[in-house]
């Protein structure tokens, strides 16, 4: 089962490895990212960040969707991590009912782009295209929320989107 779909540009790191893994009693992490799937060095560093007793597989977004359709995935407690909201929309659309939590952790702070970004929370800045993707994500999963770790403040994506429109930025 997919316990959580998470957008996190850092993929697996302290927040995921130390807190969510325990909170959700995960047995596996699926990275759904086209670049990472082709990058052996990145696979190695991700494996290093993995907590004990948790399995890892790094797939392209399409590859991850097909892996998650495997009936054996039902027996595991999985977190699927994408780097962008747009990729998360692809996963969410493929599994529109069965994902327990849809969560955005860290976004938009590492990528170098000249595009204008809007601050959604302290840890998430989104381009206009990503905000549009977030609207699509909220359409599929209305309970989508921003949260770094389980102890941190939770912001519903729907209300963050409302304040974006109020600001007249879109």
């Amino acid at each position: 089962m997919i316990c959580s779909l998470r957008v996190d540009e850092r993929l697996i790191h302290g927040q995921v490895a130390m807190t969510w893994t325990k909170e959700l009693r995960l047995t596996g992490i699926v990275i759904a990212n086209d670049e990472a799937a082709k990058d052996e060095m990145q696979k190695m560093t991700l494996k290093m960040a993995l907590p004990h007793g948790v399995k890892l597989i790094v797939k392209s977004v399409e590859g991850a969707i097909s892996l998650l359709s495997d009936s054996r995935a039902e027996a595991m407690r999985l977190m699927v991590i994408t780097r962008t909201v747009a990729d998360a929309v692809k996963v969410a659309t493929a599994f529109p009912k069965t994902i327990e939590l849809v969560n955005i952790g860290n976004a938009g702070k590492m990528s170098n782009t000249d595009e204008k970004k809007t601050m959604m929370t302290r840890a998430a800045m989104l381009t206009d295209a990503e905000i549009q993707s977030l609207r699509e994500l909220v359409n599929v999963y209305p309970e989508t929320f921003f949260r770094g770790t389980p102890e941190m403040e939770k912001t519903m994506a729907s209300s963050a989107l409302k304040s974006v429109s109020k600001g007249g930025k879109n």
């Binding site: 302290g14 927040q15 130390m18 807190t19 325990k22 596996g28 052996e40 060095m41 696979k43 190695m44 991700l46 494996k47 290093m48 399995k55 890892l56 597989i57 790094v58 892996l67 495997d70 054996r72 995935a73 595991m76 770790t149 102890e151 941190m152 403040e153």
Partner: protein
Amino acid sequence: MRQIIIASHGKLAEGVENTLQLFTGNLTGVSFLSAYTEDGVQLDDQIEALMKTFDQDGALFFTDIKGGSVTQAVVRHVANLANVYVIAGFNFAMILEALMSTVALSETFAQKLAVSGREGIELIEVKQDASEQEDTFFE
């Protein structure tokens, strides 16, 4: 409640506090002791002030280096107290593990933290074929 104290020569402890805030919003029951940073502030007084917060749930000190004067001073003050432990030579992983845990303080628990802290230190070797293939993932 159990108290956790991070103690260092200089501002290492403050740096740990700053980093911990990125990992966990809740630092209740955690104190930071930066020794020798202010003129006129005595390490003994800093330790004694912290000890006033101790109750029956106990306390766990993480000190920066075994044999250092901070560790020595802490040990001198708490050596005879029940359910108070000192781990010398902390690393970030063991502190985080202690904070995340809901287990009550005990010698066994402190020993376990010392072991997992040590296990967290390793020379990284570059390996290929790091991630699982589908069949091993589902095993």
